[in-house]
């Protein structure tokens, strides 16, 4: 059976994917930029709009990192405001389970779901570092190995609060003066190793009941968490082989939770560069890569692998002749990507091999080995490729990350989406009103 594709729009983030130096690049904080991207996504009938989260400004070498976009709004506040200027688009926010309490997050998502008439989604992330914790009264006390334990119970506790209203409690009987049918509506009592709370949840049941749950962890525990609890998983595996392996892995974990494959959508992050022809797109992609990785950025990215100060190195020269510094990565703080280098020595060896065989400078090497765009080509090529990946079970769709704010999705919406619609693999109108309707979960 031909699968229907799901698409989401990621507001460009605070990493070097986002090209702020482009003449087209607009504000990353003015509300008008969020409105613009969200309206484009809704015009293109996307499933949802997505915001990432980072609760401390990134640092490298003990200083605030200044080469990428810095600064972002509060997630709930922007999503609630976007509910005013969109009517069908899902509104997904990344909210961490360490620096919050279940009661307040449950209240916020239930409120967002009411205010958007059923369009709220929660991307549950588990960042736990003490560096970020310095911004919070509760601190960053959580040992790394406990983060999914806390995330799991955080999520189940928040859902327990949301579920404390069944949906039939409001009588609103003016004549008899009965507003509430059940004097105990919203009662809850929860006790486990992490939370000991009780009382009454103040938000009656929202249109979706529960917000859509997304998960974005890659580790074994992260995948298990997604299989047990999430409606969709946001992954890094957007290529055919890696995507298929990831897809099979997480879908394979569903059965033991009594869930079917349709109940967990796999949505890798994906970047794209379009052109009138494939060759034209390749050329543009090359320009974009050089915008994304300046000489200064190349050195900083290399430092993250090397775990050492490389400011003395020439980005147009060769790699350092020493190996990455062993031990805990202390050079860059506040970014999840650091943990991608799980074996720095092996990665460095691999990079060295590539650099030597192709005679690449530091900058050209970094351009090659980090974050190449997923989809490069004419609209027809990109539409074809996206559909292939979905039909080949490498994904159920993609969370697209434009590299220019806020207009970076326009061309995709205008040229690729119509081709997907022509093929009958993407909706031409929203079939329902809620995000659960769009995702079929």
């Amino acid at each position: 059976m031909t699968k229907q594709i799901h698409l989401a729009a990621h507001f460009p983030g605070v990493n070097n994917t986002t090209v702020w130096s482009d003449p087209e690049a607009g504000s990353h904080i003015e509300f008008s930029s969020f409105v613009k991207l969200a309206r484009t996504a809704e015009r293109a009938k996307f499933d949802f709009f997505f915001l990432a989260e980072g609760l401390r400004l990134r640092e490298q070498g003990g200083e605030i990192y200044d080469l990428d976009v810095v600064g972002r709004p509060d997630t709930f506040t922007v999503l609630a405001a976007l509910a005013a200027v969109t009517s069908k688009l899902g509104l997904a926010g990344t909210i961490n389970s360490t620096f919050n309490e279940p009661f307040e997050v449950a209240r916020q998502f239930a409120s967002l779901d009411h205010l958007s008439a059923g369009r709220a989604a929660w991307n549950v992330v588990t960042s736990w570092d003490a560096f970020t914790g310095e911004n919070f009264r509760r601190g960053g006390f959580l040992p790394q190995d406990q983060r999914y334990a806390r995330a799991k119970t955080f999520l189940s506790t928040a859902l327990e609060l949301i579920d404390s209203w069944r949906g039939d409690e409001l009588a609103v009987d003016k004549a008899h003066g009965v507003f509430l049918r059940d004097p105990d509506a919203g009662s809850f009592a929860h006790r486990d190793d992490h939370f000991h709370i009780s009382g009454r949840f103040p938000v009656p049941r929202s249109p979706q009941g529960r917000p859509v749950i997304l998960q974005a962890g890659d580790s074994d525990e992260g995948r298990e968490f997604a299989a047990s609890s999430a409606d969709a998983i946001f992954s890094r595996h957007g290529t055919l082989e890696a995507g298929q392996a990831f897809y099979a892995d997480v879908k394979g974990r569903l059965a033991k939770y009594g869930r079917t494959h349709e109940q967990l959508k796999v949505l890798p992050a994906a970047t794209f560069v379009l052109g009138d022809t494939d060759a034209d797109a390749q050329e543009r992609a090359d320009v974009v890569r050089h915008q994304q990785v300046s000489g200064a950025t190349a050195i900083k990215l290399l430092e993250q692998l090397w775990n050492a100060d490389l400011s003395g190195y020439d980005p147009d020269g060769p790699l350092p002749d020493f190996d990455p510094v062993d031990g805990e990565n202390t050079i860059a703080r506040g970014r999840a990507s650091v943990r991608m280098h799980r074996d720095p020595l092996a990665t460095a060896q691999e990079w060295r091999g590539i650099a030597e065989s192709k005679n690449l400078s530091i900058r050209e090497l970094v351009i090659q080995v980090t974050g190449r765009q997923n989809f490069i080509g004419s609209a027809a090529t990109v539409a074809e490729r996206i559909n292939e990946l979905v039909q080949a079970d490498a994904a159920d769709g993609f969370i697209l990350v434009p590299h220019v704010t806020p207009g970076g999705l326009d061309e995709f919406a205008d040229t690729v989406v119509p081709l997907l619609q022509e093929r009958g693999v993407f909706r031409t109108e929203y079939g329902g009103d809620t995000l659960r309707d769009h995702l079929g979960v």
Binding site: W20, S21, F31, V35, G54, L55, L57, I64, D66, L67, D68, V70, G71, R72, P73, D74, F76, T77, A81, A83, A84, F99, N100, E101, F103, E104, R107, Q108, S111, L115, S116, A117, E134, N135, F136, R137, R138, W165, L170, A171, V172, K174, G177, V178, F179, L180, R181, P183, A185, G186, F195, I197, S198, G199, R200, P202, V203, P204, S206, T297
Partner: protein, 397 residues
């Protein structure tokens, strides 16, 4: 702006009277929808009011002045007021929006960026009313801390320590953190210098390094300095201890005088505390709260209130003065209190929509016809409407 009083409205569901939801024109089944709140904000904006406030706590509604046997005869259930504020902001243009946040159980870092963001989505019309979360119910919802046994009565004891005084002192620290975080980015921190590849000038970003008795916060904020620089901070006060919080931390304080003499006394006490806090040079607006039941004649206004009291089975009681009468008589009272030192009023409509339009059309119209209220919005920001300048950044060299 004229020399008349500022005028705001306190939105709380279908109105402040516990039986307001039972009136035929009330829309209690819609209190959880965006449109319900938007309609009220738009109505307040039509009346050219300075701002709306949105009531909130971290628990189900509970009115200690008008207790209910089991709560089933009241509107129960409400949305997070910061999100409601954000939802109505893009659909309004001029009116200030002040949601309520509980300091005791929340993170100042989160609230600071939420209110900064509210300021962005409203292009400069955000404020926040901070309050303590002193009830055992709210505390049990978080289950994280021992707040002792705070008693509201102790807030009148100005010269001794109490658990309630601790909660207010902690709230002053909390507001200090909000304010430092709003300033933690200088206005021109974003430079987008293509030549050097730098998006920000990190010398214009500042750690706030707050360390207090209850918490420490490093900073800087993840959100750039909001359009107003410092969004408006408000508090509600009935006693000396919260007066001190207002004097130290707020731009607007809501008070509940019973008559003109009480209004004058309250203002004097707040000014005294403001001087002790070293803020006598700064504007701190003292707004009087009044619950209003309005109609065209005194007799019909009384009928309106009596009908509500009959439905509730008890006479309405409040922490604030309760006015029943015509907009004209209310304006006489407000002007009298205004002359005693109150810079404005936050009117609490007894029933919505009846008393909301009584305020936005009746009271605002009456003030305007006496030449004491604006004919059009004279500023684009809430600070501007309140005569507050955009403050310098405390960290700017």
């Amino acid at each position: 702006m004229t020399s008349g009083p500022h005028l705001a409205v306190a939105l709380d569901g279908v109105g402040w009277h516990p039986a307001a939801w039972r009136l035929p024109e009330a829309r209690p089944e819609q209190v959880l929808t965006a449109g319900f709140w938007l309609d009220q904000a738009v109505e307040a904006q039509r009346g050219l009011l300075d701002f709306v406030t949105l009531e909130d706590t971290l628990a189900l509604q509970d009115d200690p002045f008008n207790p209910s046997t089991d709560g089933t005869d009241r509107v129960q259930g409400r949305l997070d007021s910061v999100l409601v504020a954000a939802r109505i902001a893009p659909a309004t243009e001029h009116i200030g929006i002040i949601p309520t946040a509980v300091a005791t159980h929340t993170e100042p870092f989160h609230l600071s960026k939420a209110i900064a963001t509210l300021d962005y989505v409203s292009t400069g019309r955000a404020g926040v009313r901070v309050r303590i979360g002193w009830t055992p119910q709210e505390n049990a919802h978080f289950g994280r801390r021992d707040i002792g046994t705070p008693r509201l009565a102790d807030a009148h004891l100005g010269d001794q320590r109490s658990d309630i005084a601790d909660l207010f002192d902690e709230t002053a620290d909390y507001v200090e953190v909000l304010r430092r975080l709003w300033d933690s980015w200088e206005d021109d921190a974003e430079i987008r210098d293509v030549a050097t590849g730098r998006f920000v000038d990190r010398d214009r970003l500042h750690y706030i390094d707050f360390e207090g008795r209850w918490f420490s916060v490093k900073g800087p904020s993840i959100t750039p300095r909001p359009p107003q620089g410092q969004p408006v901070v408000a508090t509600l006060s009935h006693a000396i201890v919260p007066n001190r919080l207002a004097a130290r931390s707020a731009d607007v304080v809501f008070v509940t005088p019973t008559d003109r003499a009480d209004a004058a006394r309250t203002v004097a006490e707040i000014r005294d505390e403001q001087a002790k806090a070293g803020r006598e040079q700064e504007t701190l607006h003292v707004f009087g709260d009044v619950v209003v039941f309005l109609d065209g004649t005194t007799a019909t206004a009384r009928d309106h209130k009596k009908r509500l009291d009959d439905l509730a089975g008890a006479e309405y009681r409040s922490d604030a003065h309760v006015f029943t009468g015509t907009p004209g008589d209310l304006v006489d009272l407000l002007l009298d209190w205004h002359a005693a030192g109150l810079s404005g009023f936050r009117l609490r409509p007894g029933a919505v929509p009846h008393d909301l339009t009584g305020i936005t059309r009746g009271v605002a119209g009456e003030l305007r016809s006496r030449g004491l209220f604006r004919n059009a919005y004279e500023a684009d920001t809430l600070r501007g409407l309140l005569g507050l300048s955009r403050p310098a950044n405390r960290y700017a060299a």
